[in-house]
């Protein structure tokens, strides 16, 4: 707002408003003081790097620093999109994400439904507890475990393949198998953990609904279809929105720990590419441009999906 355009009256109300906001803050000064350290952390470590994003539009030069390096416009973005490896990376990211969504998204829902139908309490608890176990170990260890199980010489899978007369498969270096392994081992590690939140949603369904359905003679499958699943829909929708926002996150931790140059062609995703180009080859500006592109698309996707869900009605289905 231009200072000159404000009439005297407006200015006094503006001042009064400012005063009152200031006074209100002053009344809460102790609370603001408590908020201060946390906000400093967030400003420094979350917003701080956003300042460095400008090097995506510059030719970063260590001597000149972030601010001193010269502007080059969209050079790095153009370079990315005119680059064959970039297209491969984009394709891999999307494909792996889509496979994960297709197989990995329904898996915890199905597991929650399966666990929910178990009558024996002890078995239910054992099944649940064991199913989350792999979630607690890091991908470094999990990758070691996967490599061990799939080993062509001593792994259990190849043992069975040999037993039925199939030649051992070098799973970890075979481009035809690598994505399948990513998706399958991802489900192995996270399905139990993913089901926790769905089971919590199921446990909040009123038991009377089931009783009434039983009186009406509904089978288990019918109860699942007409009571359990519809009750989970708002939650399913929220989790789907969140995973749509992460469509360009094809799972850095897992791929980074499992891939090797022999399968780069099918497994190199934006994040691994940014890591290699940026930190290994020290191509800071280009790598930042690629990362910036990725975060922007991710943010836009979350906003679009959220907007669409809101338009469809029920705010219960949205994120905020």
């Amino acid at each position: 707002m231009k200072e000159t355009a404000i009439t005297k009256d407006n200015r006094t109300t503006l001042m009064a408003n400012k005063n009152s906001l200031f006074r209100r803050i002053w009344n809460y000064k102790a609370l603001f003081l408590m908020l201060l350290p946390g906000l400093c952390f967030i400003l420094l470590f979350n917003y701080g790097p956003m300042y460095g994003l400008q090097i995506a539009f510059k030719d970063y030069n260590i001597g000149e620093g972030i601010w001193g390096s010269s502007w080059v416009g969209l050079k790095h973005f153009k370079m990315f999109f005119s680059n064959a490896s970039a297209l491969r990376v984009l394709k891999n990211t999307l494909l792996i994400s889509i496979y994960r969504l297709l197989w990995g998204f329904p898996a915890p829902i199905i597991l929650a439904l399966l666990i929910n139908e178990v009558g024996n309490k002890a078995f239910k608890r054992v099944a649940q507890t064991i199913s989350y176990l792999p979630h607690f170990i890091s991908w470094v260890i999990a990758a070691g475990i996967v490599i061990n199980v799939l080993s062509p010489s001593t792994g259990i899978i190849n043992h069975f393949l040999k037993a039925i007369g199939i030649q051992p498969i070098y799973f970890m270096t075979d481009t035809r198998w690598f994505r399948t392994i990513l998706v399958a081992s991802g489900i192995w590690k996270e399905v139990g953990w993913g089901s926790v939140v769905y089971l919590a949603a199921i446990s909040s369904i009123e038991i009377e609904q089931y009783d009434a359905a039983i009186v009406d003679g509904a089978t288990r499958i019918q109860r699942m279809r007409y009571i359990t699943i519809p009750s989970m829909l708002p939650l399913i929708s929220i989790i789907l929105i969140l995973s749509m926002g992460g469509i360009l996150n094809a799972g850095f931790d897992q791929i980074f720990n499992m891939y090797n140059p022999m399968v780069f062609e099918v497994s190199d995703i934006i994040d691994t590419y940014v890591y290699r180009i940026g930190l290994v080859q020290m191509n800071y500006s280009f790598s930042t441009a690629v990362g910036f592109f990725k975060s922007t698309v991710g943010l836009t996707l979350i906003l679009i999906v959220q907007f669409i869900t809101k338009q469809l009605g029920n705010s219960e289905y949205g994120l905020w």
Binding site: M34, L35, I55, F136, V140, N148, V196, V197, A201, T219
Partner: protein, 295 residues
Amino acid sequence: MNRHDSKSDRIVVFIDYILLIILILITLYPFWDLVVLSISPRNEALSSGLRLFTLNPDFQAYKQVFESPEVWRSFYNSIIRVIAGTSISVFFTALTAYPLSKKDLPLNKIITGLILFTMMFSGGLIPGYLLMKSLGILDTLWVLILPGAVGAYNIIIMRNFLRTLPDSLEESAKIDGAKDFTIWWQIVLPLSTPVLATVTLWVAVGHWNAYFDALIYITDRSKYVLPVLLRRILLENQIEMYLPGQADTSGVIVKPTEETVKAATIVISAIPIIMVYPFLQKHFTKGIVLGAVKG
């Protein structure tokens, strides 16, 4: 199974149990296989097949791992990281969440929005790296502790929990003349143990398992944390460099295979998590349910 079940329902339940049993076996076998491999003598480790047990357990591989000073040092660094990182993180997260749980706090929505935005957008890898470099904290413990200390997700979970506490407790303390900070420390925190326990465990396990920040920010070998050492040994095949027993092939004693040593390394590093696991899962579950509450 209950008395209402028809024949078709019983089949459904039967299939359900079978599927879950298969899932349990698939989840557990890879872990079990590693444990057995880690104590298998050389000839058994080299053969393929279903590994259920070994008749001649051989603890050579464990000996080799425990004899490595690098393993002990990185283990020690990891413990320090977990203790220091978790205390700093939980303290400041709880401190930040408290004012935000007050709905009448001026600018609350704007500040919360500012925090939530960090969940959807970030500067990315290189700008983050350059920031740490310019702060001069590369190759120190601080670079592993400070950047993630206060995160949006944990703040929101704590805030949502705090909103369920009755206001009357704080009001009566205020009438008695207590200041905000005292109220937080003496009344609110003791009442928040469920959410504090949850977040503490989340953060602690996060620190224990974190490898990427340590991999990019720490180049000094003496400051390695366990997951980074593991990565070098397991995935980058630098086993000889860190577990030197392996390099000596002239000995008469039959050395454990590389795979056996790797298995022993995994088992050792997974033990702390598996030991606290029953306790963990209770609180983790509580946390994810708390987190699902919208506010």
